[in-house]
Symmetry: C2
Subunit: 482 residues, 2 copies
Amino acid sequence: MAEDEMAEHINVKKSENFSEWYTQVIIKTGFVDYSEVSGCIVFLPPAYFAWQTISNAIDAEFKKIGVEDTYFPLLIPEKLLTKESEHFEGFVPEVAWVTRTGKTELEEKLAIRPTSETIMYKSFSKWIRSWRDLPMKYNQWNNVLRWEFKHPTPLIRSREFLWNEGHSVFATEEEAIAEREQIIGIYLKVLKDYFAVPGIVGRKSDNEKFAGAVASYSIEHMMPDGWALQGPDHHYDGQNFSKAFDITFLDREGKPVYAYQNTFAISTRELAVLVATHGDDRGLVLPPKLAYVQVVIVPIYKKDNREKVHAYAKKVYEQLNGHFRVKFDDRDGYSPGFKYNEWEMKGVPVRLEIGERDMSGNSVMAVRRDTGEKKPVKVTELGKELEHLMTAIHDNLYSKASDFLKSHVHIVDSYEDLKKTLKEKGGIVTAPWCGDRKCELTVKEETGAKITNIPIEPVKFGSKCVVCGNKSKFAANFARSY
Amino acid sequence: MAEDEMAEHINVKKSENFSEWYTQVIIKTGFVDYSEVSGCIVFLPPAYFAWQTISNAIDAEFKKIGVEDTYFPLLIPEKLLTKESEHFEGFVPEVAWVTRTGKTELEEKLAIRPTSETIMYKSFSKWIRSWRDLPMKYNQWNNVLRWEFKHPTPLIRSREFLWNEGHSVFATEEEAIAEREQIIGIYLKVLKDYFAVPGIVGRKSDNEKFAGAVASYSIEHMMPDGWALQGPDHHYDGQNFSKAFDITFLDREGKPVYAYQNTFAISTRELAVLVATHGDDRGLVLPPKLAYVQVVIVPIYKKDNREKVHAYAKKVYEQLNGHFRVKFDDRDGYSPGFKYNEWEMKGVPVRLEIGERDMSGNSVMAVRRDTGEKKPVKVTELGKELEHLMTAIHDNLYSKASDFLKSHVHIVDSYEDLKKTLKEKGGIVTAPWCGDRKCELTVKEETGAKITNIPIEPVKFGSKCVVCGNKSKFAANFARSY
């Protein structure tokens, strides 16, 4: 059988060169591609499908708690963007500016949104009048642009990305703060149920929090190279923006009060976590709910039994189609081995191999992508067995990812151990910290590790800050971070 | 009972000043709002919900025929945008240019996509290698920007809008052309089943077709003022772009061939058709499937029976919640009349009025937004009755809209009649046409009407072009058009 192209392979090991492995996997499997615009990528169907699926899942959860979807303009006038100075300074080096339309120079240049606080809050200020209008929980699913000058990496650090940006407004600080658990809960649940990925929830240090926030909370992930990567977040902005944008409401006594605000987001960066967490040396490994193709059927035949095997395989395909996202790879001119490699590389959770021997047993051979395990399954029980396999694969991926995360968190009690652990083991190193920015920056300067967050799960920690020796206030998670 | 604000009203009649009516309805009902960027609007939850619903419905139909979702960059390098000159010239006056990022001037300026042919096809050229890769049907749901200098009107002519852009590639002309019926069929079906809006399908004249297309087909709508408005479209681009962008594939004989391409789109402009078609002098009238709130419950009570009535109304709410998008308007301080007006203005399909009299009959009073019809309904039968009402309202709206469209199509056989009909009746005037661009432009110059399209439904038409008297080839639809 003549192959009309060479099979693609991932030719570097994940454990040896994660960065090169990552690039090969996302590009060679047709997950994303580079584009003609530096730092901006194309989301190919498997990547966009995963994003669409999780954004729909999150949106459904948002709706249950009263979050409403809106859409605000892409462009933000300069004077609006510069209104809240701390916020603006965080974004100014990364803003792409529209200065001309057609052949006309604009009088005021327009920013492509790096985030939409400023344009949204200008409207909020107009709309919100009384306590009756609150809470107001607006969200949008959109594209944003941050023209970062560091080396862009597809999905991890792309100049344009897709996300949700939630912007909620409350009458009281208590209500605003109470929202955090709901939103972080939704993100965690979707990460677990769809991505099969865990994370560490905690508060950002003041140095690392969002520009304009009072308190930022994040979900932090552990990448295969021992570096942390920040996932979804939720920011309590207090009255910072409501004062800058004059968002007041009349309370029940008719008194004007500045509103309390939150913002929250999950972005397509999370697809990088998906790929990095589950993939192996042969390519992508996709959890079934986010797999563009869940089941691939590969017939094994020779010239003389081609029709027979194809007919049988086609019947299996028709039985499964509509219940699973199933692909029948009926291409002639490619060997089964070539096809196995291709679909393994693309991360399809289950492969069904069908040859004449399987036909005679009225069965198929089911092969798991995550474990390689093979198992003959009766055609009559295939639907039920595949449902079972999908759950088993998902659970296995989540459990492996959780073990990996746990094994990469180290608790230390001295600066020597902090440095040694970061150097030798990487991962997240939890250490007692006094809360002083100076100590935080010392660690950053001397080890390259920042505080990813201060976990909300209780951690037993020493009584003295590992840097200055003063009384420790927090168990802080230090890590080198994307 | 003291009202703490004045009720909003639509204070102009749709039939007397459609343009002012339209603006009042979309703004006063909180459907969309103006923004700080001229010509760009905010989609508020009711508008975004309608768009989300129809884009999900269309996307599901697309997936059935193998259309796959992708996401390409927002920005297009100038040299790419100018590659296909006819296409480019159609868009150049409307392009917003990014010339600076942070404080750095870009070497090559970047266009915000007015449409994505150029950036997508550059990638297509790289990806498509053999007949095995075809057909390739890629789509994206995104935002585009066209900085039109004419007076922008929210939704109808907004500088930024949301749409789907489908871009399919085929090995043969026949396959490419055959896709049209599928896609137009999907758009028509969703227009009928969700928008409750009909349209006229036909081919664009060469003068009016899409820049770069061989043949454009559109669905044309009739607005209340007798002007036509173009809805979704499908373009057969032949090999125009494949030649400009070098999209070739090796056919089964190994010979390189330029591919055949289509593009197709539906945009948020369609929400303007929704509002304009069904709305009346009291405000929005929303078809149930696109109504953000489908059922509103308004309790009628006095001080002494407030608790009793509220408890009963709340039980009704709980019975319906989850089955319908239902709102219990339990605000104190507003009279029932005030609430009726507000929810009528917002276009809620069914209102349930609940007072003590209804309680004693174990019923509620159901009021239809479209006809004003009132009907007592037993609480035990409410779910079933509401299902029935939703269908009845949808069907009534579609039937009224179809009648309106039919009554605004006039067939004429002479230039005098064409001019007279356009002047006195407006609407769409079908007339025999020779196919010559000169005659088309004469009509445009003398009447302001262009050819909206050449209907594919058979029309009996005269043998001579109404303008030049030469042999007629087509029944062309002339109309003044948005």
